[in-house]
Amino acid sequence: MVPVAVYKSLGLDRIFHKVTTGERLDLEDGLRLFRCEDLVAVGALAHQVRLRRHGRTTFYVVNQHINYSNVCVNGCLFCAFRRRKGEPGSFELSVSDVVAKVRERLQDPITEIHMVGGCHPELRLETFEAMLRAIRHVRPRVHIKAFTAVEIAHFARLEGLSTREVLLRLQAAGLEMLPGGGAEVFSPRVRGLLCPNKLDGDGWLRVMREAHHLGIKSNATMLFGHKETLEERLEHLDALRRLQDETEGFVCFIPLPFQPRNTEVEGARGPSGVDILKTIAVSRLMLDNIAHIKAYWVMLGVKLAQVALHFGADDLDGTVVEEKIGHMAGADSDDFLTREALENLIREAGFDPVERNCFFEAAKASAHTG
């Protein structure tokens, strides 16, 4: 830990007091933390919260990523993954393609399948229901986390259904959890610049509220380091915190550093290492009602993700295979880490590795057999 006197000298003694007594930080506090020149002091404060919540446990998951299609009508400027229908490099998987991918890895002890795609102009809800049922059939015990709030709203529009009806149908077909993607930064100003065709922030939060009310847990993300201000990051965190007060449906928050390569965001270079660590720390400190903060190694790089475990993060995500979205934007991490490599990173940082499932329950051996 950093001596208490340091916080006084940084003018953070009030914040230090709030954190140690569990009092909620306001947006002004968040701004002071972001602007604090002492990176380690901010990290140590977040670490204190992390130790209180999770001790020295650091989680990881053995999972499989499936992207069913990169065809997307949204055209978000920060995305290097999207293609128009029929454009070279575009792809879409059929139900049997998805099944084949699941079968390919039946021998691996996977507990979670993470499946997302673009907002495809033609794929129908019944196809997605069929995909979920097929996965469930081939691998009955695996947890299925699929479709961002943005995709859910897109399906609803295509089908002329409400988002709640879409969620109900997907839930009936086997959907257990929503990933946190598509949140980007909620600020209408930033969305107007970068992703004007995407579901807006209120819509994203509304879908999540509906999902949580139906008993579908979810994650939440924030894509940062492009055109947003620090205030807009904090408003994003605050919006998540308010919804969480209401629903308690968010399991994990995932700050995603923007990867600038192969995108169309002019002048943006992505956040620096220090900015990433500070954002993780501030997220841990602001989000007093979300249990877990993820250092997603695919986006951070393995080295910085490990350091982030000392800045408020308690999860490294998983042994991702076939990650496409981050890598197409120039993320230079490997495609996967073995369980051994993940556990080693965690141990060498001074923590105890625990394998989890998508709900952050310690994985049981039996789950591996499905």
Partner: protein, 363 residues
């Protein structure tokens, strides 16, 4: 119960003495801190010392190029992916014209120095190196930072001279300073395992002592994360601290992690957290070294930037060219502009420096 976990009374006293009054750490205290202090305390303590030594909030860098005049080497160190044995089809010795072009490119990019190193070439006489230095000095206004201690020991052995004479002749021919490479871990038991044909720890230190005596400044490095113990790392730090007490000739300490790709040592690379811990401990132990350098070449830009809060006050070189780490399969690349931005984004003022760590005006 660990250091910094509780900040008990005894620790508070030690903490005040070391951080406020600058009292030097004993080997036992250093060991305790390295083993037990928590990560944030280490960063905090190292950064406190770094700010006391460099209150001006500057992070320096040098614009230079690593030129490897040859990769032919009879040393055969197990950690090295760069060398080729004599007779190997990929072995080379740079032509003077190539050397000249590389230096001209460096100067055109605002460079002030070249780092010139090679292997232990069995056939090249000392006059070859003297000639190379004179060739450069006659033509270009460039600082020559060249020949690590193992090369100098090798030249001496080959010529039947003592190292003092070799250093004097190279200095006479234009050598300006000596890089701290080849230190690896300055413990002979480790060196016998990983680099059995390379100069001993005593010889490495002897070359540096002699160079300092002759007025040449040098750096000191440490390559860790291969087959050494924590105790070996501490022995290394204390060996260079002792020498620095006698000579004051070291400008900087540069630790980096062993990169196992394409080498004869199989192990996982040292992790980022472990790197930052060692960096912080070295800032605390080496109270007579002005500068500690972050290694973006091995750690990447993001962790190297973080290292500026764990004791480092220098971002190293722009490395217009780098071959040795690249040979182990690690390819980070940064432009001058990117290096300046990384320093600024961390809240510091970037300043170009010389090998002697003097700021260059207008940078």
């Amino acid at each position: 119960m660990g250091w910094g976990h509780t900040m008990g009374e005894g620790q508070e006293i030690l903490f005040d003495e070391i951080l406020q009054e600058g009292r030097r750490l004993s080997r036992d205290e250093a060991r305790r801190i390295y083993r037990e202090a928590d990560f944030h305390w280490l960063g905090y303590a190292a950064h406190t010392i770094r700010r006391r030594m460099h209150p001006e909030n500057v992070v320096t860098y040098v614009v230079d190029r690593n030129i490897n005049y040859s990769n032919i080497c009879v040393c055969g160190c197990r950690f090295c992916a760069f060398f080729r044995p004599p007779g190997h089809p990929e072995g080379y010795v740079l032509e003077k014209s190539v050397l000249a072009r590389k230096i001209e490119e460096t100067l055109a990019l605002g460079g002030t120095q070249i780092l010139l190193q090679g292997g232990h070439h069995p056939d090249l006489p000392l006059s070859f190196y003297e000639d190379m230095l004179r060739f450069i000095k006659d033509r270009y206004p460039v600082h020559i930072h060249a020949f690590s201690p193992p090369e100098i020991v090798f030249f001496a052995r080959r010529e039947g001279l003592d190292t003092a004479s070799v250093i004097a002749r190279l200095k006479q021919a234009g050598l300006d300073s000596i890089p701290g490479g080849g230190a690896e871990i300055l413990v002979d038991a480790v060196r016998r395992r990983v680099s059995p044909n390379k100069c001993s720890a005593g010889e490495w230190l002897g070359v540096m002592e002699e160079a300092h005596r002759q007025g040449l400044r040098t750096t000191a490095t440490m390559m860790f994360g291969h087959e050494e113990s924590l105790e070996d790392r501490l022995a290394h730090l204390f060996a260079i601290r002792d020498l620095q007490d006698r000579t004051g000739g070291f400008t900087a300490f540069i630790p980096w992690t062993f990169q196992p790709g394409h080498t004869a040592i199989e192990r996982r690379p040292e992790t980022a957290v472990s790197y930052l811990r060692l960096l912080a401990v070295s800032r605390l132990v080496l109270d007579n070294f002005d500068n500690i350098q972050a290694s973006w070449v091995t750690m990447g830009p993001k962790v190297a930037q973080t290292a500026l809060f764990f004791g480092a006050n220098d971002f190293g070189s722009t490395m217009i060219e780098e071959n040795v780490v690249a040979a182990a399969g690690v390819h980070f690349r940064l432009s001058l502009e990117e290096i300046r931005r990384i320093i600024e984004d961390a809240g510091f003022v970037p300043k170009q420096r010389t090998m002697a760590y003097e700021w260059i005006d207008g940078s």
